[in-house]
């Protein structure tokens, strides 16, 4: 609709392809290709093998995958609970209080994740709460980082919620807890699941804060990928990266199915 001539359109599309393919499609394809490669010293990789995947799905790597999954699921659920609670409470509160709450819960987005990692490390390496060296310090840091995103998307959804439903329920004599449980939360379910997917993806890929505080027996996938590439094992690192991307995509797909089911209810 902006460009009408046929040649003009093709020229624009050509520019788009020249920009889009090398910048966005190529990196992902390259990682995929590298994960099967034995050598890569010219234009194309050679010596194709699945050995990297055999290594990437057992032993240390398998343990890192479970570590990442457990961390991401725990952090997402905790963040979703705290973020939703805060968003619901903020919505019911008077406007100045709501402002303060929104600002407080959005702050972790603005603070660099490395600093969040440092802060959590400093605070929980000393009594009263000694978490350093346990898996909980990683989970706490991830939860703090993703809570902001959970809060933001849920609170955006709450403001879009039609108040007529809860008013109707309340006028029919439903108690506030019943309205919350049977009316508001089901209506919020699509955005809750979207927020859960976002939190999960962010936590799966979290590296900055994790590098500051992971204990040796709780190594998530990104740290393992870094360790592999740092010692020059680029192909093994790529295979682990593909495992990470696949796991993230599978969970996101599952979560988006929940969303479509809920929105047609």
């Amino acid at each position: 609709m902006l460009v009408h001539s046929r040649t003009g359109k093709w020229a624009v599309w050509l520019v788009f392809l020249v920009l889009f393919l090398p910048l966005f499609a190529l990196p992902l394809l390259v990682i995929l290709a590298a994960s099967f490669a034995g050598h890569w010293s010219s234009v194309l990789p050679s010596g194709f093998t699945t050995a990297h995947y055999t290594a990437a799905t057992r032993g240390e790597a398998l343990q890192a995958l479970t570590t990442s999954l457990v961390t991401a699921v725990t952090a997402s659920l905790l963040a979703l609970a705290v973020g939703t609670w805060a968003a619901l409470a903020a919505h019911a509160a008077p406007k100045p209080v709501r402002r303060v709450l929104d600002t407080l819960f959005v702050l972790p987005v603005a603070v660099p994740s490395v600093v969040v990692g440092l802060a959590v490390l400093v605070a929980f390496s000393q009594p009263p709460l000694l978490l350093n060296g346990t898996r909980w310090i990683v989970i706490v840091a991830h939860t703090v980082l993703v809570t902001a995103f959970a809060h933001q998307s849920v609170s955006a959804a709450i403001t879009r919620l039609d108040p007529a439903y809860e008013q109707a329920a309340a006028s029919l004599g439903a108690r506030p807890s019943y309205v919350l449980w049977r009316v508001r939360l089901p209506l919020l379910l699509p955005s809750l699941s979207a927020a859960a997917g976002l939190c999960f993806a962010l936590s799966m890929g979290e590296l900055s804060a994790t590098m500051m505080l992971y204990p040796p027996d709780w190594t998530p996938l990104p740290v393992l990928i870094y360790a592999a590439t740092d010692r020059g094992a680029l192909f093994a690192g790529s295979a682990v990266a593909v495992v990470l991307m696949t796991a993230t995509l599978i969970v996101l797909l599952a979560v988006s199915r929940v969303r479509t089911k809920a929105s047609y209810r």
Binding site: M1, L2, H4, G8, W13, V15, F16, F20, L23, F24, A25, L26, P27, L28, V30, I31, A34, W40, S41, S42, L44, W85, A86, A89, A90, A93, L101, T103, F105, L107, V109, A110, V111, P112, S113, V114, V115, V116, L118, A119, V122, A123, F124, T143, V144, L198, M204, G205, L207, S208, M211, Y226, T229, D230, L234, S238, A241, L244, L249, L252
Partner: protein
């Protein structure tokens, strides 16, 4: 009323315990180290060090340049997807969403294979020209970080832009076009003004994220590229200099939170 406010207490208490209290400790550590004494000496030391000033400068110019790059590239790409649609444009828009859910360091990992010393680009060069080595060695310089940041963060600009473009009435474009305006003029006078709020919001978010970016710089593995988050990491973990790390952290937080506050104001004005 008070009961309603009481409901807000549990989540706020959790946030205070696990986020605000640790941040306060970082602030305290920076002026009152565990080793004893209260002084601004750590600040004086850090500000006087050349490494810190260089990291500050690198962080700021990289973030600014990456933001400009993302804005230009994101605007062009979103423009084509929205207004010169091709078969599969929807799929590309969805691909952009998927791209956002992957961690940033994967881009640097991929760039190692594309532009690394024995990567695709250099391999192509040596095959074609017969030279012993290729000319691409920018990966371990700030330019490599810049390329990775522009690649990774452009989708963050494209998403709000595509949302804004989907609300733009096609009739406006057709009216302008039937009055004789050519494509560049329509973009400048009709589309750009509509896109400004989305550009401002996306751009300031990308600026903050670039200031805080760590994974890309870490994976680049270049000793020559040090940004503030990288300096926090190396001081705390590699040198065990916690007071110094806390000072850099405080500076980094002040810059980022200040800019993020600006972003919130801008995006609220824009209604985004």
């Amino acid at each position: 009323m008070t009961r309603r406010l009481a409901w807000a207490l549990p989540p706020v208490a959790l946030l205070a315990l696990f986020f605000l209290y640790p941040l306060v400790l970082v602030g305290r550590q920076s002026i009152h180290p565990d080793t004893g004494g209260t002084s601004l000496q750590p600040y004086a030391d850090v500000f006087a060090s050349a490494a810190f000033r260089e990291a500050l400068w690198t962080t700021v110019w990289l973030a600014l340049a990456a933001t400009v790059g993302c804005l230009v590239l994101g605007f062009v790409l979103a423009l084509v997807i929205a207004f010169v649609p091709f078969p599969g444009a929807k799929a590309v828009a969805r691909f952009v969403d998927v791209f956002l859910s992957f961690p940033s360091f994967l881009i640097t990992l991929a760039l190692l294979f594309i532009y690394g010393t024995v990567g695709m680009a250099n391999g192509l060069w040596t095959d074609v020209t017969g030279a012993a080595e290729g000319p691409f060695r920018f990966l371990t310089t700030p330019w490599g970080v810049l390329l990775a940041e522009v690649t990774y963060f452009t989708p963050f600009v494209m998403r709000p832009l595509l949302a804004a473009f989907s609300q733009l009435d096609t009739a406006q474009l057709e009216a302008a076009s039937s009055l004789g305006a050519r494509a560049p003029r329509i973009v400048r006078q009709v589309i750009l003004p509509e896109a400004l709020p989305a550009l401002a919001a996306g751009g300031s978010l990308v600026l903050v994220l670039c200031l805080n970016e760590f994974g890309i710089v870490l994976f680049t593995g270049a000793k020559g590229v040090t940004t503030l988050p990288m300096l926090v990491y190396s001081k705390a973990i590699l040198e065990s200099d916690y007071p110094g790390a806390c000072v850099v952290a405080v500076v980094n937080v002040l810059i980022s939170v200040g800019l993020y506050g600006l972003y919130r104001v801008v995006s609220r004005r824009a209604g985004a």
